[in-house]
């Protein structure tokens, strides 16, 4: 294995289910909230591995629409890629905009989505300035859970999971 290979993030053994479980644990341990960070957008090669990972791991299907992370082009693949994903705001506008209490901010800062409370009004989508919330087929938000599934499938270390002090 070459040098460049070592630098690539290939840790997928610890992915999916394990990471999702870690996410649950993290919710119980307020001091260790984890947040997805787009650390090196300029290293993106446009493989869309993160998008496929997000939908595959959360829905079990192959889909671009159902992904909470989006890799957008700016002037086609000739231009730079733009990675659009929830940045885990300290004072989240999506929570403030939700009239049904479906988006709830936990004491540790994480935002939890209660699907059963959601009325599909779309206000959260409008409220997010960076466009990180898209609406799924039922009109309910597809929201990043900061589980890190995408991180494991980014071959160039564009994405990282960082710990956020409470």
């Amino acid at each position: 294995m070459g040098k460049s290979k070592e630098a690539r993030n290939t840790d997928i053994t610890a992915s999916s289910e394990i990471k999702a479980a870690d996410e649950k644990d993290a919710a119980q341990r307020p001091r260790k909230r984890r947040r997805l960070k787009v650390a090196h957008p300029e290293r993106c090669i446009g493989c869309l591995g993160c998008m496929f990972a997000c939908s595959r791991i959360h829905t079990g299907q192959a889909s671009l629409q159902d992904s909470a992370i989006k890799v957008q082009t700016q002037g086609g693949i000739e231009g730079d890629f733009r990675i659009v994903v929830c940045r885990g705001c300290e004072n989240p506008p999506c929570v403030r905009a939700c009239p049904a209490g479906a988006l709830e901010r936990k004491p540790d800062g994480g935002v939890v989505f209660h699907r059963d409370l959601c009325t599909a009004c779309g206000k959260c989508e409008e409220a997010c300035l960076i466009g990180a919330i898209s609406l799924g087929k039922e009109g309910k938000p597809i929201k990043c859970m900061h589980c890190g599934a995408c991180v494991a499938f980014c071959p160039h270390g564009v994405l990282t999971l960082e710990e956020v002090p409470a």
Binding site: M1, G2, S4, K5, R8, T10, I12, S15, S16, I45, G46, C47, L48, G49, F52, S55, R56, I57, T59, G60, Q61, A62, S63, L64, Q65, D66, K70, V71, Q72, T73, G75, G76, I77, E78, F153, P155, H156
Partner: protein
């Protein structure tokens, strides 16, 4: 799993989808389904540039679902060879077709005026393209991006002026840096007044067993990124082969007069990586990122004013526009690739046409009057730039002949013995030995990728192989690639998709197949393709091998005509042909 065919009729300005469950079940997808559709759709003996000649685009059951299954296939009657036209492209077309819900698209007829097809899920429109007719392929992409929906999940495939002007080896540019390069799909588009096709969608590919899906996905992904099966594509890229083949004496130079280039170092993959590479890109769903993009910065005044062109490069264009034209600078090679990108020419055919023309010019078979004063000389990049532009514009009989390919031009002007085509298709960049020659000659689309004869020669260089073993290897690849191209996988990832992994990934999307099923399918697809080839006039017994192949030392030494003859005899016998 979607199992339908979308029909777009440009003459009738109409489109509709048909359920074709049985077709997909029997022929899998990709090239298997496409060859059946071609036999259904294409009347025998038709002019490839007539409205009756169809264009078929297809993907397979793994595209958009599993990693490194990133290609789509175009099937048509080749305007270059007059028989089977088949070309593969990466980029994002496979993904866009998957999520738009169209596994196969048949394009029929001819639009009344320049048009483009816009597909967004089930919404299919044929739109006016008169204002972009004549616009280069790159700018066409820029314009359509602004007009159409689906940012970040669409594919835009388009032709340049070469396709519009029916250059027989015009290609179709796919998402800027990838191509349906070979065998003239661009001319087929042009003949239909079809400038482009834009496609995007929002569908989901439903998977029957999510757990199994994730498990197989992870296994394939791990092989792609953690083992060395794809390493060479990741680092230097395919152009790593410039130095390798040069050392082996298999790098065609100055129109195959030599098989090594004394200045290969100056156009090597390592040189490009060190001096020009600024970015790598991936096809959607591939973590490797083998698309290497060079920044060509050149001054256009003495006052520090620069233009920067972003040019994708690979082994084949460096061979065809580099060593085979004696071009010894990175800048020269990139300038020539860039012209082909903008005008929409196939780089491989264009380079081989120029290398023949250079030698013919040297031997006084053609005159400066015919070239319109353009000096066709080895390493004369300015001359080659002008010649390429003239091929696209075809201002006289000579350039018009060049636009029809090296087979046609050499029949008109002479120099057959050094007109480097096999089966009418300009050859790829390998003079490795007899398996490369025989492989391209018998291959269904006369491409080095039909059966990788060049790779068989390289194996034989390490451990001698007799003619029969070589033929067995060619047949094995002919057949197994028919299956892989039905999926439609990237051939760089063939090490990832072992037979077992193919069976498991198909199983995860609900398609149960055994080893025997797949082998039988591969053989069946090959036979269908030959059915079309023979129907359209291809005859292996009279196929021409340029004498130059026997005169220049290859990686396996001089190839004797008798060896090639012997291999062809064995091949015919093993195929059950008399």
């Amino acid at each position: 799993m979607l199992r339908k065919v979308l029909y777009v009729d440009l003459s009738k300005n109409d489109s509709w989808a048909e359920e074709r469950q049985e077709l997909f079940e029997k022929w899998m997808g990709g090239t298997g389904v496409s060859i059946r559709l071609l036999l259904e759709e294409c009347p025998a003996g038709i002019d490839p540039l007539s409205p009756e000649a169809p264009i078929i685009l297809a993907i397979g059951p793994l595209n958009g679902v599993f990693p490194v299954a990133t290609k789509s296939v175009a099937t048509f009657k080749s305007p270059l060879t007059g028989e089977l036209g088949e070309s593969y492209a990466g980029g994002r077309l496979h993904m866009a077709m998957r999520f738009a819900g169209h596994e196969a698209i048949v394009i029929r007829g001819k639009a009344e005026q320049p048009s483009y097809i816009s597909i967004s899920d089930d919404e299919i429109k044929i739109k006016d393209a008169t204002s972009i007719w004549g616009v280069d392929a790159q700018t066409t992409g820029i314009i359509l991006r602004e007009r159409e929906t689906g940012v970040g999940r669409r594919s835009i495939i388009r032709i340049g002026p070469a396709g519009e002007n029916l250059v027989r080896y015009a290609g179709v540019v796919v998402d800027t840096y990838r191509h349906f390069g070979r065998l003239g799909l661009g001319a087929a588009f042009g003949s239909k007044n079809l400038k482009a096709l834009v496609i995007s969608g929002t569908e989901t590919a439903e998977i029957p067993d999510a757990r199994r899906y994730r498990e197989v996905y992870n296994r394939l992904y791990n092989i792609a990124v953690q083992t060395d099966v794809m390493e060479k594509y990741h680092d230097i890229g395919t152009s790593v082969n410039i130095n390798v083949l040069n050392w082996l004496k298999g790098l065609p130079t100055n129109n195959f007069q030599l098989s090594s280039f004394s200045e290969a170092e100056k156009i090597s993959g390592e040189m490009f990586a060190d001096n020009y590479l600024f970015r790598r890109l991936s096809c959607a769903g591939c973590p490797i990122g083998c698309v290497h993009i060079a920044a060509l910065k050149s001054a256009f005044s003495a006052h520090h004013e620069f233009e920067v062109r972003k040019v994708s490069y690979d082994y084949e264009p460096i061979y065809s526009l580099g060593s085979n034209l004696g071009v010894n600078t990175g800048e020269g090679v990139l300038r020539l690739i860039d012209i082909c990108e903008r005008t929409g020419l196939d780089v491989m055919s264009a380079g081989v046409v120029l290398s023949w023309a250079t030698e013919a010019y040297e031997r006084d078979l053609i005159t400066p009057q015919e070239t319109l004063g353009v000096p066709l000389q080895w390493n004369n990049v300015d001359g080659y730039v002008k010649a390429l532009e003239n091929i696209v514009k075809a201002p006289n009989e000579f350039y018009s002949a060049l636009a029809k390919g090296v087979e046609f031009a050499s029949a008109r002007y002479g120099g057959r013995e050094f007109a480097m085509a096999l089966g009418g298709n300009e050859v790829s960049g390998y003079h490795t030995g007899p398996a490369s020659i025989v492989g391209q000659l018998v291959g269904v689309r006369h491409s080095h990728l039909d059966n990788a004869g060049y790779s068989i020669d390289q194996k034989a260089a390490k451990k001698p192989m007799d003619s029969e073993t070589m033929v067995d290897e060619i047949i094995k690849e002919d057949n197994s690639r028919g299956v892989f191209n039905s999926l439609v996988g990237c051939l760089f990832a063939r090490g990832v998709y072992t037979e077992e992994n193919i069976i498991d990934s198909l199983g995860a999307v609900g398609i149960a197949r055994t080893k025997d099923d797949l082998q039988e399918l591969g053989k069946r697809i090959f036979d269908e393709k030959y059915k079309f080839k023979v129907r359209e006039g291809f005859d292996l017994s009279t196929a021409r091998v340029p004498r130059r192949f026997y005169e220049t030392v290859s990686a396996l030494g001089k190839v004797a005509p008798e060896t090639v003859e012997e291999m062809l005899t064995i091949y015919r016998k093993k195929r059950g042909w008399s």
